[in-house]
């Protein structure tokens, strides 16, 4: 992301954090200047957070309590795309408000939770859900490390088994060892 007008993330400080900064900064002075300008301008724009001409009757909960409860449960799962560590349930950002309205409408229209999630994922990608789906790609991502460890264990066990047992000394070797021990007893490693 970069120097978006974040449609206000609650207070001014977080709006400044949200904005530009590092990515643009890495590209040199011009980027920094642009980023700072954009950040400042977002702050300047922040006091007028409601450009919508006729503010919709703010945040009417769904009429049926069961629907409202379902909608609220969904809000907690959905990431605010501006304040990215907040759910739309707790975010004050305007776009979170819009998303809450969309979710409430869809719930009221009888869509299932899965359909509402699919609607948002189609538009914002999977990152909009705090809990990722158990898709083949995600399964591979999360389970591969365990498979690697298991594979390593299997390799170690296989090797241990593959080592041929040491053959016992034959008579000649045993005799030689005995004489060595007798003639040079102090050469043994005594620690």
């Amino acid at each position: 992301m970069s120097a978006l007008c974040p449609v206000s993330c609650g207070d001014g400080a977080s709006a400044a954090e949200m904005s530009p900064g590092f990515k643009l900064g890495a590209r040199g002075g011009r980027g920094v200047a642009l980023a700072l300008l954009a950040a400042a301008s977002c702050l300047a724009a922040a006091p007028a957070p409601s450009p919508a001409p006729t503010p919709a009757p703010a945040e009417a909960p769904a009429s049926a309590p069961a629907q409202e409860a379902r909608a609220r449960a969904l809000f907690k799962e959905i990431r605010c795309v501006v304040c990215q560590n907040e759910s739309i349930d707790s975010s004050q950002a305007e776009i979170a408000e819009d998303l809450r309205r969309v979710v409430r409408e869809q719930v009221a229209a009888g869509r299932s939770d899965g359909e509402v999630r699919a609607f948002l994922v189609a538009r914002y990608g999977e990152f909009v859900m705090f809990r990722p789906a158990f898709s083949p790609g995600n399964a591979a991502l999360w389970l591969t490390p365990f498979l690697v460890v298991l594979g390593g264990l299997a390799l170690v066990v296989g090797r241990e088994r593959g080592v041929a047992p040491v053959a016992p000394l034959n008579a000649e070797e045993a005799e030689r060892l005995r004489t060595l021990n007798e003639t040079e007893p102090f050469n043994r490693n005594v620690t």
Partner: protein, 177 residues
């Protein structure tokens, strides 16, 4: 000799670990943790209908696309939009079709904004409630989408266009059929 070699071997995992630590330290310090969603890239524009700024008749967003087209989401209350405005003018002067989408903005203010700065847009559609914004998956304004002649989104840029971004988009637009 063999002992020296095996000691060397034991150092290899440590060296790899140190290299990884260095790599992660560098890459995560440079990385911007914010994600810019671009789920729409590679997919057709949403089938939404919006009123035009001039005239006010309802027009499908898809019909605003003629050949490679840039769709720019902007608003008069958004100062970064003003910052990127010269780039949009240059893009439209270089022959790319640029369509504006006025996001959550009073049409009178949008018109005043364009009168003050000049109007680089072939047409401007009005998204007063921000629903088209959600359909497009925007996280703020400005955002710019490159759409090919068939109406499929090919690239997306979030935030004001710098000359470099504009150049990249122009090159991409020219490479499209």
């Amino acid at each position: 000799m063999t002992r020296a070699v095996s000691r060397l071997w034991t150092l290899i995992p440590l060296a790899v670990l140190a290299a990884l630590v260095g790599l992660f330290a560098i890459s995560s310090l440079r990385r911007q943790p914010d994600i810019s969603p671009d789920a729409l890239v590679g997919r057709p524009l949403p089938g939404i209908t919006l009123p035009t700024l001039v005239g006010g008749e309802a027009v499908p967003l898809r019909s605003a696309v003629e050949g490679p087209t840039l769709v720019n989401v902007f608003a008069s209350w958004c100062t970064p939009c003003e910052v990127e405005h010269p780039e949009l003018v240059k893009l439209s002067q270089s022959g790319v079709r640029v369509v504006g989408l006025a996001y959550k903005d009073d049409p009178a203010k949008t018109t005043a904004f364009l009168n003050r700065l000049s109007d680089p847009f072939a047409t401007v559609l009005v998204d007063r409630e921000g629903r088209a914004g959600i359909e497009l998956g925007i996280t703020g304004v400005p955002e710019t989408y490159l759409v090919d002649g068939a109406g499929v989104v090919r690239a997306k840029h979030a935030g004001p266009l710098t000359p470099e971004h504009a150049g990249t988009l122009l090159a991409q637009a020219r490479s499209l059929p």
